[in-house]
Symmetry: D2
Subunit: 432 residues, 4 copies
Amino acid sequence: MRVQRRVGPAQGRLGVLMPGLGAVATTAIAGVEAVRRGLARPVGSVTQMATIRLGKRRDGRAPLIRDFVPLAHLEDLVFGGWDIYEGGAWEAAVRSRVLEPAHLDAVRPALERIRPMTAAFDQRWVRRLSGPNVKKGTRRELAEALVDDIRTFRERERCDRLVMVWCGSTETYVEPGPAHATLRAFEEALDRDDETIAPSMLYAYAAIRSRVPFVNGAPNLTADAPALVEMAREFAVPLAGKDFKTGQTLMKTILAPGLKARMLGLRGWFSTNILGNRDGEVLDDPGSFKTKEVSKLSVLDTILQPETYPELYGDISHKVSIHYYPPRGDNKEGWDNVDIVGWLGYPMQIKVNFLCRDSILAAPLVLDLALLSDLAARAEMRGPQEWLSFYFKSPVHADGVAPEHDLFIQQTKLKNTLRWLRGEEPVTHLDE
Amino acid sequence: MRVQRRVGPAQGRLGVLMPGLGAVATTAIAGVEAVRRGLARPVGSVTQMATIRLGKRRDGRAPLIRDFVPLAHLEDLVFGGWDIYEGGAWEAAVRSRVLEPAHLDAVRPALERIRPMTAAFDQRWVRRLSGPNVKKGTRRELAEALVDDIRTFRERERCDRLVMVWCGSTETYVEPGPAHATLRAFEEALDRDDETIAPSMLYAYAAIRSRVPFVNGAPNLTADAPALVEMAREFAVPLAGKDFKTGQTLMKTILAPGLKARMLGLRGWFSTNILGNRDGEVLDDPGSFKTKEVSKLSVLDTILQPETYPELYGDISHKVSIHYYPPRGDNKEGWDNVDIVGWLGYPMQIKVNFLCRDSILAAPLVLDLALLSDLAARAEMRGPQEWLSFYFKSPVHADGVAPEHDLFIQQTKLKNTLRWLRGEEPVTHLDE
Amino acid sequence: MRVQRRVGPAQGRLGVLMPGLGAVATTAIAGVEAVRRGLARPVGSVTQMATIRLGKRRDGRAPLIRDFVPLAHLEDLVFGGWDIYEGGAWEAAVRSRVLEPAHLDAVRPALERIRPMTAAFDQRWVRRLSGPNVKKGTRRELAEALVDDIRTFRERERCDRLVMVWCGSTETYVEPGPAHATLRAFEEALDRDDETIAPSMLYAYAAIRSRVPFVNGAPNLTADAPALVEMAREFAVPLAGKDFKTGQTLMKTILAPGLKARMLGLRGWFSTNILGNRDGEVLDDPGSFKTKEVSKLSVLDTILQPETYPELYGDISHKVSIHYYPPRGDNKEGWDNVDIVGWLGYPMQIKVNFLCRDSILAAPLVLDLALLSDLAARAEMRGPQEWLSFYFKSPVHADGVAPEHDLFIQQTKLKNTLRWLRGEEPVTHLDE
Amino acid sequence: MRVQRRVGPAQGRLGVLMPGLGAVATTAIAGVEAVRRGLARPVGSVTQMATIRLGKRRDGRAPLIRDFVPLAHLEDLVFGGWDIYEGGAWEAAVRSRVLEPAHLDAVRPALERIRPMTAAFDQRWVRRLSGPNVKKGTRRELAEALVDDIRTFRERERCDRLVMVWCGSTETYVEPGPAHATLRAFEEALDRDDETIAPSMLYAYAAIRSRVPFVNGAPNLTADAPALVEMAREFAVPLAGKDFKTGQTLMKTILAPGLKARMLGLRGWFSTNILGNRDGEVLDDPGSFKTKEVSKLSVLDTILQPETYPELYGDISHKVSIHYYPPRGDNKEGWDNVDIVGWLGYPMQIKVNFLCRDSILAAPLVLDLALLSDLAARAEMRGPQEWLSFYFKSPVHADGVAPEHDLFIQQTKLKNTLRWLRGEEPVTHLDE
């Protein structure tokens, strides 16, 4: 018989700290505030909207997830963050033009009180951006300053628990190097102000040191560095990441499992994106684009298993491009062309045109991951949280196995993990 | 501990009888012949190409399905069928222009030897078609003639086992009526030549009487009538159906679970199709279209559970249209427009343009279902086979539960049923 | 040497009377009011925005059209109309949700003062609509009441001149019959209350009787009836029509001339539309759809000249469908699939997806046609105005010649007519 | 009264020399051969298929262009060319997989007898290609060798007249420099083997020296260099170019005039292409792509006249990208997203997906331009031929005026030039 895992209660205030108070972060904050006031619904949030089936099909047991596992309540969330611009959440929300004036106006005071802490930033890592609200100092000094920021925020806002969700920009591409190999090497690199340490790593380091779960919404290496994984295990802190799975890649991890389920072959997948927001501007830089490209290209292989199915998936032209195109603003648009192969090798095509909204798709992920990484901390699940793969383009994964990209396997893993936490049987769709 | 179910061996020749020797049937036959000769691969066939994972992720056990369960070999298949045209499989294959001349030429002798048996047909049920190769007589006489045809074929072709796969046209819409209520009522209706008995029902009746598994590739009521379900249980015959899930609806049952997994709302789904083959011509008739439309419209509801998620899925405009458009021939094209809703209710759109090939997508389903319904018969699984839902737009289902349309749940159910047959544990993606 | 035609001056107030104060009419009115106030630009209006080249390329003479020919000024326009609903222009504009609240608020008083006159309406001609603000009486009585309405409006609003622009719904399909054959027959039919006289004909009759130019924005037969053409010539009144050329058909008359210019063949053109406004609801009725379909299907033939180019255009599958799809509101969307043929007969495809806004595209046409039909009246151009074909799906045309649908020939004709009016040479793009 | 221009007769054999015997050239040759044999039709060829209207609409005079002006007959064409590969036209045609085996087989002997002359080539100008069939020597030596090749071909094939049509690859981008400024400078640069002289310029130089009309199908600078324009005028040789207008850009010059005709504004035009042929491979090199990009980006400005219409067209994001994507082969696919603006500034979108075939669209242009540049030579029209703009992405144009990109103005100019040649009135669509 299955037993329930002990999970600490979700009492008191939960602080959500976000490096990068831009379109995604402010859309998430404004949305939570609107939901609290009963003005809108948290559509896209699995923790708030979804049910979970328990037992057999005919049992009729399907509570809301938020009634099934002990999550922090929206009323208990407190938001804060860092940004290189000084304006604060209200200005950022207005400037990003994601939400309509009527929605923003309704939560204006809540946004106005969120002022950014001074950011740890280095333009060599994000070439297209620069801003005035930036800390000065060596990497060691910056890291310690971030630890201080966290402590100050916790005290000032009377938080019982904290989580950190990276909502900042995509940094330039970097492979793991000697400075990222072990915690000791990392600490030494901090001391000598080693330039292979990216700003995002400083945030992750400060979070882990502060025993705050860290979630990485961008494709940056950050906490995937072995040093920080080691540190997270040692400090018993959950890590989740990386790169929020939103528009085109979300579609890819929905479609590819479908094609594979039917054993339809694949010859090519061409993906292009147009977007006109700050993210688009940042990705117009080749270094940042490389980081994003690697993340976006990785998803097909583990879904399709080309080594198991060389005839079907052994030779695929997979291309991804992103174009900064100002007329669109935050209304990202993806166009995918999928060249598939059927019976006897006959070619067919699927074209997907996704007129999405970048921050609208990402905001509920910020909320879910804040709540679930806090749950993980209370359940004493430490280090990389593979069961949260559902939310990421480049999910963390156990050593020696491939990351899981299939959205439906990810969903099963997420829900069965929640069932396991509460001592319920997994669902097998078998003899029910 | 799980035990293995006893399954009869797959020895000897398996006859595959198809009412309707048109584009789908001849593409299936030509393909199997080409695969036998090593000229092509059976892409799209799960029984031939797919593996099945056993045990834990790290165990590395993933045999081909055809090595895991005892299926008939392609070498042992024998094809036959009925058609209202006299020409035979070769002529039908050439006329339907699905396969290229080079592919057809390579298997010409095999196709030429397949001559259609005289069909049971009634133009009131398929208004756009008429042909010379048609049986005369009352419904009772036609049913008995089909039973004779089956016996003659079995003897002439020295078959050990038979299956029947309906590959004929879509009949005009009919609701289940008194004549379809019980086996006794059905038999009496046959005797009085009741006109509410559709030709397809005569084939199903003859198959069951002959203890031949019956698979329904069209949306016709046919074996879904309670009378024939009762008969199949009594005669211990597996039934599978209905309506091959190929192009647009396949995509729908891939995408909709993905949207729901992420709790993205839906306001509308507009689907249109253009196709220029005989199927398109038949569906140009409002009666036949109604039958197809009902089948195509049903899939969203049970996937999305509007009663559980009224905010997200309670008010959806779901439209389906099909247009006969001769320039396309068998190259069916679907265009879908999906109006989705995200965070705080903001609208987004997904557009899918599927340039598919109708018969290329359907042919591997004919093969898989012939093999799996034969497996079911040898495993003594009788009546409607819910675990084969994976292949159908309107899957049969147990009384009192909704049909399952989510392709990924269907796939899990299919594979876990195969695991169960062989005494293996189901896969839960949990703690592996 | 060319001479200038005498054109009466554009002094005083011009009343614009619109049967149908719905989305199109109120978007036009609100827009003119916003432009007057300097709040927006009349994008899409050729009379307001376009220049016209005069003389040779190097001459550099290209005045704005509104500076070149004497048009009424926007300041001198006065709007009025009829509707079956009582609410008035403000309510209709709000309900149709075309313009954003900020735009509407800025012109609210101007819209609020426009109250609909009681409409001449008959639900047998527009089955999906019904409303309370409807005149009672025989057709003769209704016609006379409309004449009275026009006189009253002219006096009350102190208009120097009037034009009438039909902005109402699509009526059910009707072929010209005996009652429409001559003016005498039409008068007699009015007297005997003949039911083949559509409501829209009563408006056209009343306009012509009042010497008011009549413009038909819908595909209804209306003033195309020989009786009313005869009457317009006799009363020296310009007629323009019919069916505003806006979204999909506009694209068709842009693309088809391009394909023909390059002698690319055509095998099929499949067009589908989704829209969710009142127009979509009306066209959901088969009778109204037939009227619209005939109008939309006619454009390809005269552009492509199948009798001259039978190899290229002699056998085209041209299909048009329209679907009422509420999620879209006024944001009409068209999807076209064009099957073209190139060198040696090789097939290619063009797909066009037009996410347009119905009333946004139609509104500037209302303005242009009001101004240009008033110009025609002052230039004493009587009867059907072929040079305004540019604006219509089913343009009126001289007897014995085909209507011109090619947008670029239509544009040349429009501009060369304006040049002719002012005694300028036509442009030939030859030796300049 | 208009008079007819004297045009030399089209007697005897016309040699068509093509640098680059790849997909485009061999598709053109195979097509002409198939048409000669009555096996196919020259669809897409204006000279072969189109009529030209003479006089008034009601006159009914509309002969075929080839019956109206004296063009060389297809029977009199003789093909030849240069290539860096040795295989010849048959091998190139098979390898490029544009035409189906059945079409190629029918004209195999005609293709097999066409062997490439040794090419003047320099890999620094086309980085992705290299081949064995290449001349050695200084630029001066190469130029003289090409002049010899032309003379030899003329004699061997007993040609009365010759034309040269560049069908080779896109060279790397180059701005006109000192060596291209005057004919004298060019001759001196040849003598000193100046590396700013591209291989394509050597062909143009040799053609002009040989008094052979030169047509440039690629975006290379080539004969647009002032030196070669001067030389063409001096030697009385027609020049036409540059860059065949085929798929996406053809569509752009069809759509943009339509939008402008209606005074619809434009905020952005995003164009992406996928193709998998040799052209795609060449354009994968940034240098070659730059040349193509400049050509493709130029078309919108002169159509839309942003300086005349700053509100509508003054701030456009125009992006073009090309991606080498092998699954497509020669089946190029374009996807365009056009962000337009209507009444009061409301945004709308047009998306065009063009599934075209590169060489199928280009082949008839090769034929038309061979015939029309030969006509120009016989009509003693020297230097750049602006009236052939219809066929090019970057048309040559008179000094001091902008190039004309509007396909419909280009067509009018082409046809009115032909009318002028024969003493017919231009068509004005005015009072006819």
